[in-house]
């Protein structure tokens, strides 16, 4: 190899080395900067342990909560932070043994899970859980709109905001609850079917409600540890997912038969929000 070629290669090697060092420094700087940005994000940790209680027995399905939420959060058309489902459940009256149907109004909203799958899958920490008060919240300016949280949420509460084009969700009205108020939906509920409280306060009336009643949660099998506690779904939530001898029915997938009496029980749900989908 000629001297000239050797020198040429040496200078090239030097150039590549400088390039690699420069690239490493830039990448390192960017990572450190992002880590710093992560730390400097205003911490909103509080000492509260918020929980939400829904008493299904009291809900009359007036949708005042849905309207209040729309007004409070200025939610666009076609998407909802909360909604009320109508369930028709067949059951056997324990006193008379007759088959009856009862209609339940089941309000749904974000469960602010202790183990939230939406936080786990968010690639940019746009969805995060405040470990202090347990609220699962969204940083709108950071969200990239990949919809992964929507796919991961078992409760279907996440949606893309059609105006901001970022993911949005129910926040349990953090702007109100962190200032001592209750969420808008709780405030307007005429029958007190919705209640909200702070478990870190031993004198909070929510404690009495939880201790007195049997509490159910939605989809406990997902392991998300939801913090919306339901009263009045005992023996219902959980039954419709998979017990009994189910047969296919196009509009009410779960139909089961009481093996003792041969009576057929149906679980039917009517959703009045389907019509809003047309606007999306």
């Amino acid at each position: 190899m000629s001297q000239e070629l050797k020198e040429k290669q040496a200078s090239r090697r030097g150039f590549i080395k400088a390039l690699v060092v420069g690239a490493a420094a830039t990448c390192g700087g960017a990572v450190l900067e992002s880590a710093r940005a992560e730390r400097s994000f205003p911490e909103q940790k509080g000492k509260n342990r918020f929980v939400f209680v829904v008493d299904v027995r009291k809900c009359i399905g007036c949708d005042a909560c849905v309207a209040a939420c729309k007004a409070e959060r200025n939610t666009p058309l076609g998407v909802f932070n909360t909604w009320v489902e109508k369930w028709e459940v067949g059951y056997t009256d324990p006193n008379t043994g007759e088959t009856r149907v009862k209609v339940l109004n089941v309000p749904k909203l974000c469960n602010h899970c202790e183990n939230p799958p939406c936080v786990k899958v968010c690639p940019v920490h746009a969805t995060y859980r405040d470990e202090g008060d347990g609220l699962v919240l969204q940083r709108y300016e950071r969200c990239i709109g990949c919809r992964l949280c929507e796919q991961a949420c078992p409760y279907g509460v996440r949606y893309i905001d059609p105006i901001m084009m970022v993911m949005n969700k129910c926040t349990w009205c953090d702007h109100r609850t962190r200032n001592g108020l209750k969420p808008a939906c709780v405030d307007v509920c005429p029958t007190k079917a919705r209640d909200f409280g702070d478990l870190s306060n031993p004198n909070d009336p929510i404690w009495e409600l939880i201790k007195k009643n049997s509490i159910q949660v939605l989809k406990p099998e997902e392991g998300t540890k939801p913090r919306v506690f339901y009263i009045g779904l005992e023996g219902i939530e959980g039954i419709y997912v998979g017990t009994g001898s189910s047969t296919e029915n196009q509009h009410s997938p779960a139909v089961w038969t009481d093996p003792a009496s041969g009576k057929v029980y149906t679980f039917n749900v009517r959703m009045q929000h389907n019509m809003f989908k047309e606007s999306r």
């Binding site: 040429k8 090239r12 960017a30 900067e33 992002s34 940005a37 992560e38 998407v79 909802f80 909604w83 489902e85 749904k108 799958p117 786990k120 899958v121 968010c122 690639p123 940019v124 920490h125 950071r142 969200c143 990239i144 709109g145 990949c146 919809r147 992964l148 929507e150 796919q151 991961a152 949420c153 078992p154 409760y155 279907g156 509460v157 996440r158 949606y159 893309i160 084009m165 989809k219 997902e222 419709y240 997912v241 998979g242 189910s246 296919e248 029915n249 196009q250 509009h251 009410s252 997938p253 779960a254 749900v269 009517r270 959703m271 929000h273 389907n274 809003f276 989908k277 047309e278 999306r280």
Partner: protein, 374 residues
């Protein structure tokens, strides 16, 4: 308008459409084409070198275009660059960035050593392509065929598992959504990977045969018999895994099964194309079709169509099932706009543009091949 069957939750629509169907299709071909790389560099089938070269061009073009599909899906594509700056390492999307970067580096290193001789030769010819090729030699213009070949072998060996992981990640991402019926199963990863081999070999064979025909070069179908047999056997393997998946779903008969059945019925055309196509590739690939150019071309086309249908059946039906498990929502496929068919067509054009660009720079045939012919 969004069409629903049965009661569905108010926020539920099919968010991921044709773009997200296209993304694993592209990455699958990248992963699948590395099987030919394995045949050439690991199993020593040097007769397939030219085929491998075409597959490599295609793989780089697809690798560069594939991320655009999920980026277009974001509606504001530039937001994707927030991910490396605020990474959440528990999110499966981070895996994409890591694997894509590694694969891109490996592919470029392999390309450099694979095409160096071509670049050197082209640089001597002058002109625009010559000066581009000259730049791509990065100043190293001494010819060292044996050393280069060793390095190509090494980087080709590295690229195979990385490309496989890169594609399998899509299956992992979807199976991580365990609350979604049809997705929340780890067999999904295997389904993605096996069908990828079918489409990857199919795409490479088809491009090679068409390219040779355009250039007026002869192709010996006997040389293509091995990759065709591999494609056919993987089609059979894919059918087997799909059979296990759907029979298990049916036998478990969970509460979601009626909805899964509804979603399958709604996409029956795609399921039929997938299963019949794969069966055709399996049977055709084992018969005399694998010894004629027309037969191999037909098998390749069918493999590409059936795997596209397979991608559809992996991505769309699961999203149709409502989270309330009581109804399904039909996908809303648009011509223009987010998740529009126009965007997908644009991506295909971009892939072919890049493919022709790479072929123009490095040449359809390798320098060593030209020397042998001379």
């Amino acid at each position: 308008m969004i069409v629903t069957h049965g009661p569905t939750l108010p926020n539920h629509i099919v968010e991921w459409g044709v773009l997200i169907v296209t993304y694993p299709y592209f990455t699958g071909i990248v992963a699948g084409s590395t099987v030919i790389t394995a045949l050439v560099y690991l199993f020593g089938l040097r007769k397939l070198e030219q085929l491998e070269r075409v597959g490599h061009f295609l793989a780089i073009a697809l690798m560069l275009v594939a991320p655009l599909a999920p980026m277009f899906d974001l509606t504001q594509p530039i937001r994707a660059f927030k991910v490396p700056f605020y990474p959440n390492f528990s999110s499966p999307i981070i895996l994409f960035f890591i694997l894509w970067t590694i694969l891109l580096l490996v592919m470029f290193l392999k390309s450099y050593f694979l095409f160096r001789r071509d670049f050197i030769q082209k640089a001597k010819e002058g002109g625009i392509w010559g000066s581009i090729a000259g730049f791509l030699t990065f100043g190293a213009r001494d010819v060292r065929p044996e050393e280069d070949d060793k390095k190509v072998k090494f980087w080709a060996g590295v690229s195979i598992p990385v490309a496989m992981f890169f594609h399998a990640y899509v299956g992992f991402l979807m199976s991580a959504m365990h609350s979604m019926p049809l997705w929340g199963t780890s067999i999904l990863l295997l389904v993605f990977l096996i069908s990828a081999v079918v489409s990857g070999i199919g795409a490479t064979l088809l491009l090679y045969i068409v390219g040779q025909a355009i250039l007026g070069e002869k192709v010996n179908p006997q040389v293509l018999k091995v990759p065709t047999l591999v494609m056919a056997s993987f089609a059979g393997f894919d059918l087997f895994v799909l059979f296990i998946k759907y029979v298990s779903e049916w036998y478990w008969n969970t509460a979601e099964w009626p909805l899964i059945a509804m979603a399958i019925k709604a996409n029956m055309l795609f399921y039929l194309v997938e299963f019949v196509g794969l069966l055709f590739v399996l049977i055709g690939g084992l018969t005399s079709l694998n010894s004629t150019l027309g037969g191999i071309s037909l098998l390749s086309i069918v493999s590409l169509i059936s795997v596209y249908a397979a991608r559809w059946t992996m991505v769309i039906p699961a999203q149709m099932i409502d989270k309330g498990h009581r109804g399904i929502v039909e996908p809303h496929i648009k011509l223009i706009g987010r998740e529009g068919i126009t965007e997908v067509i644009a991506l295909y054009f971009l892939v072919f543009f890049l493919f022709f660009l790479f072929v123009s720079i490095a040449g359809w045939k390798s320098a060593s091949h030209k020397e042998e012919v001379a």
